[in-house]
């Protein structure tokens, strides 16, 4: 399993994006950088895919968007969690952990 890029499981991108914003507001490129850093470069994501996902999360009211200025004085769209998004993140994480625990015990069963 060394250095093979692992594809993201279907349906988990949303959770990932929510989590990426839990530390504060970020724009799309920063989110990608965070993912790369936090997964040690092992997760393979087609970069452009995060934008439709971000807009969907915004339409659902889980994240907020605002145009702002980067350090290099560029116009960038910054996203951040709404209270609703924060709550959703919590519940999704809990669900994920439970799912993983059950699946693990199934995999280890005889």
């Amino acid at each position: 399993m060394a250095n093979e890029n692992i594809n993201l499981l279907k349906g988990t991108l949303g959770l990932l994006l929510l989590k990426s914003l839990s530390g504060g507001q970020r724009h799309g490129h920063d989110i990608l950088k965070w993912i790369r850093r936090a997964s040690d470069g092992k997760f393979h994501i087609e970069e452009g895919a995060i934008y439709p996902a971000l807009h969907r999360l915004e339409a659902q009211g889980l994240i907020d968007a605002e145009w702002g200025v980067t350090e290099n004085n560029r116009q960038a769209k910054y996203y951040r969690l709404t209270p609703k998004g924060r709550a959703r993140l919590r519940s999704e994480v809990a669900q994920w952990e439970e799912y993983v625990a059950i699946f693990n015990s199934l995999l280890q069963a005889v």
């Binding site: 490129h29 970069e47 452009g48 439709p52 969907r56 605002e66 145009w67 200025v69």
Partner: protein
């Protein structure tokens, strides 16, 4: 560090380009940042760009995806915004109507009258004309008939476009030799005496050929329908009962199938019961059918080609069109005419859709009724429009303020329309209630003569019509105030006071035109109603040629045991004697055709002394007993009545009426002339005319004297007649005695007593129906017009209060001012009357066919209506003017 670039107000004002631009910016930045990163790591700029784009993925696809999503969201939000605006408008409308309850109430009631009446008429039109017949795949059903192209061979009241009845042998040829029909059935109405347990009852039944129920796709509730095997003459008699008869007579007995009944002294076995709600085609809606028996049991000759009495209906094969069927039957008709020239020469076979035949002649008068009710609706709209205009003026300041605060003209228009449509829908809802009540009332008036009247109901179809009508009405009168608002909103509006001097000219013109329009519309409707009412009154008062008061009638059907003329005569004579002996009975007589029953028989006759090969005319005749004329009050003008002596042992005699005498012997004496049935050389005997009676209205109340002849009943075999009895005192004791008299001789004969008066009344239910409806609409229209015209004139005068005040302060005499106002009112009324007159002359012609004894330009009606409406116009001006003159001029001037 993040700075806010811009807020996001008016998100819904963004457009597709804005969204696309934003997305492009966002995605472009991503790529730029990646490029910068890669360059920092040491890559070549061009390869850095390529790598960045590769990492990004399909840029175009992502961009498109985000844009589509964004646009979709935009649309959603716009829709939500629109919804909330509309809800806000509706709430506002409700609130503002709450604030002025009197206004709202008047508007809603006015609209309810107009929309309710329209809904009522539409529900009748829908039930009778528009809705498909209540059978499966009814558009494939047709009626097939025959009619002679030659006028001389047709009877009175028959014209070439009708579908006449068919003869049995012709019907069988049609059925067996045609390919265009999936099924072809014939039916004949037949009356059966149900005897046995309980009171003998006369059943209204149909004798039908095979495949009747399967053609109509009727599933019996219990048992089965009639099969081909049942229609053989030697088969056992079977009968199918209607739901109504099964419940009423047999108490819904679950074991009814297989039970044996005695109908007209023959045994029949019940094989099926039909579900409720089945309306047999080609039958009048006035009488419901109780039972069905096979055609061969209906006691009618099956092997004749000449006698035509069967009603024929068929179902076209699914791949055959009406035109194709017509072609085929035309060819078949020619073949039959060639093969059987004596019976079929000159007869053409016609096919029409059953739907059209059922509606028959009612579509014309119903359409006229619909036109009339639309006039009423327009009058209601005019009233409401003027009310709305007045209200809009009072709210000018409010509207101007809204406009100044940023509401677009479109938004304001939308809000005003929401108000008017909301109130219109409320009016429509109330109107549906009126229409519902109206339909119930229809059942009381019971216009059974109108086909399918039982199917009329205020159902979902009709209610969607009401909804559409309400919305259209709301838009119509809602536009009036909108058209009034000048383009120099809001400044102008804010500047002037509530009276708005600058707008008054437009306002006055609108009121003027509304008054003229209302007067004209009311005129037309009142003329229409007036003519119809006039005609109906004459119809009711017309001299029918016979007495209608204090006469009881009943049908008498003798069973098969009376199988000879002697036995029948014995019964009739015995019965007549017994009835005459009842206390309170003045006279009694019998006839095979009561007036207005339409039971006359036609036959060809030859006249003695006329050229033998002349085309034989048809004359109608019925058979009567001595004493019939006396009972019915029919006068003998010349000669004598029949007596017991006029029987087959003596010379054959005949009595004719005035019209017949005048028609065939215009300058000679009819008494003593001789005529016979058939040609000169036929075997029937020459009959001598021994009497002439006055004409009666035989075919209908509105159809005056047609030629008619009478034969002595007792000279012929006849097992079915109507008995007429004239009495003096109140009916109850007499009816019981009559029944007893009949049952003393034969307890199996049903007796159903009617009064002649009721029969006459039933025969004019159709004109009565239209008269009541049209009359009610006219009354409502007159009320609305009075209220509306008076209101508008009052308002007008009030607007000129200032001007009047000045004039009076300057010394003008009261009378001059009064005349000035009156002159205006008169002028408008006259214009309206003139317009109404022109339209009425044209519109009244549509009624020509339906009027009895009244011309379409009846001066009395026109003058009455003109005076009435002129009076309304004048009084509407006079009363407010008088009131304005009572006020102190100084008060008026100061009140500005």
């Amino acid at each position: 560090m993040v700075e806010k670039r811009r807020n996001r107000p008016f998100f819904w004002l963004r457009r597709r380009e804005d969204i696309a631009r934003e997305i492009d910016e966002e995605l472009r930045l991503h790529i730029e940042l990646t490029v910068e990163e890669l360059i920092e790591e040491g890559m070549e700029p061009s390869s850095a760009r390529r790598e960045a784009e590769k990492r990004f993925g399909d840029y175009e696809a992502r961009r498109r995806e985000c844009t589509e999503f964004g646009v979709h969201q935009l649309r959603l939000e716009r829709r939500i915004e629109l919804m909330s605006e509309i809800i806000h408008d509706i709430r506002f409308a409700i609130r503002s109507f709450h604030r002025t309850p009197a206004f709202s109430l008047i508007v809603i009631i006015t609209l309810a009258m107009g929309i309710g009446a329209s809904t009522l008429v539409f529900s009748v039109v829908d039930g009778v004309l528009l809705r498909p017949l209540p059978y499966k795949d009814s558009q494939r059903l047709v009626m097939v008939g025959e009619m002679f192209t030659d006028r001389g061979r047709r009877g009175p009241g028959q014209d070439a476009s009708q579908l006449g009845p068919a003869s049995p042998l012709n019907f069988f040829d049609w059925r067996d030799r045609s390919t265009c029909f999936e099924a072809l059935v014939a039916q004949i109405p037949v009356t059966l005496n149900l005897s046995g347990r309980g009171i003998p009852e006369g059943l209204s039944a149909l004798g039908v050929s095979a495949d009747y129920f399967s053609m109509l796709r009727v599933q019996p509730l219990m048992g089965r329908g009639l099969l081909r095997e049942d229609d053989q003459p030697k088969a056992e008699g079977v009968v199918v009962l209607s739901f109504g008869l099964w419940q009423r007579r047999f108490g819904g007995d679950a074991d009814i199938i297989g039970r044996k009944l005695t109908l007209s002294e023959h045994p029949y076995t019940v094989v099926g019961v039909i579900p409720p709600g089945f309306h047999p085609p080609m039958t009048s809606s006035q009488h419901s059918i109780d039972a069905w028996i096979p055609l061969s049991f209906a006691e009618v000759p099956i092997d004749t080609r000449r006698a035509r009495f069967l009603d024929v209906a068929g179902r076209l094969r699914s791949d055959i069109s009406l035109a194709q069927a017509r072609e085929e039957m035309k060819t078949l008709g020619a073949v039959l005419a060639r093969d059987y020239p004596m019976e079929n020469n000159g007869a053409g076979i016609r096919i029409e859709s059953l739907h059209q035949q059922t509606a028959g002649e009612t579509d014309r008068p119903l359409k006229i009724l619909m036109g009339g009710v639309m006039l009423l609706l327009l009058i209601a709209c005019a009233n409401v429009a003027s009310l709305f205009v007045s209200r809009a003026i009072a709210r000018q300041k409010e509207m101007a303020l809204r406009s100044a605060l940023g509401a677009s003209r479109g938004r304001i228009v939308r809000q005003l329309l929401t108000e008017s449509i909301s109130v219109s829908i409320l009016g429509g809802a109330l109107g549906v209630g009126f229409a519902y009540a109206g339909v119930e009332l229809l059942a009381i008036i019971n216009p059974g003569a109108i086909p399918r009247i039982a199917e009329v109901a205020v159902d979902l179809r009709v209610m969607s019509f009401t909804l559409a009508l309400s919305i259209a009405t709301g838009i119509l009168f809602g536009l009036a105030p909108i058209l009034q608002t000048s383009k120099n909103y809001p400044i102008e509006a804010l500047k002037m006071g509530a009276s708005g001097a600058t707008n008054s000219k437009d306002r006055r013109r609108m009121h003027q035109s509304l008054i003229i329009v209302e007067t004209a519309l009311a005129f037309v409707l009142l003329i229409g109603a007036g003519l119809v009412i006039n005609s109906f009154v004459r119809l009711q008062r017309v001299d029918l040629g016979f007495v209608t008061e204090n006469i009881l009638t009943t049908e008498l059907r003798l069973g098969p045991r009376y199988d000879s003329r002697e036995k029948q005569t014995a019964f009739f004579t015995d019965l007549t004697q017994r009835i005459k002996n009842i206390a309170g009975v003045k006279s009694a007589g019998m006839t095979t055709s009561l007036p207005l029953s339409g039971n006359l028989i036609l036959a060809r006759v030859s006249f003695e002394g006329q050229a033998p090969d002349r085309l034989l005319p048809h004359i109608p005749f019925c058979k009567i007993s001595p004493g019939y004329f006396e009972t019915m009050g029919i006068r003998l003008i010349k000669g004598r009545d029949f007596t017991e002596m006029d029987n087959p042992d003596h010379e054959p005699v005949i009595i004719v009426n005035e019209s017949l005498a005048r028609l065939y012997w215009p300058d000679k004496e009819a008494l003593g002339q001789r005529l016979k049935f058939g040609r000169h050389d036929s075997s029937s005997p020459w009959m001598t005319i021994i009497g002439v009676v006055n004409d009666i209205h035989q075919r209908g109340v509105g159809i005056p004297g047609e030629p008619e002849s009478y034969l002595p009943l007792l000279s012929f075999e006849q097992n079915q007649t109507s008995l007429a009895i004239r009495y003096e005192e109140d009916t109850a004791p007499v009816t019981a005695a009559i029944r007893q008299a009949v049952w003393e001789i034969d307890p199996d004969i049903p007796v159903t007593l009617n009064t002649m008066k009721a029969l006459v009344s039933t025969s004019i239910t159709e004109p009565r129906f239209y008269t009541i409806l049209l009359g009610s609409f006219a009354a409502m229209a007159l009320t609305l017009a009075c209220v509306g015209i008076y209101g508008m004139m009052s308002y007008s005068v009030a607007q000129r209060a200032r001007e009047i005040g000045i004039r009076r302060a300057l010394g003008a005499r009261d009378r001059r001012i009064l005349w000035m106002v009156l002159r205006q009112g008169l002028y408008r009324a006259l214009l309206g009357l003139a317009a109404g007159l022109l339209i009425s002359f044209w519109a009244a012609r549509l009624l020509a066919k339906f009027l009895f004894g009244v011309s379409t330009t009846d001066p009395l009606t026109f003058i009455t209506v003109a005076i009435l409406l002129a009076a309304v116009g004048v009084m509407s001006a006079y009363i407010p003017a008088r009131r304005a003159l009572k006020v102190d001029p100084l008060l008026v001037l100061r009140a500005e």
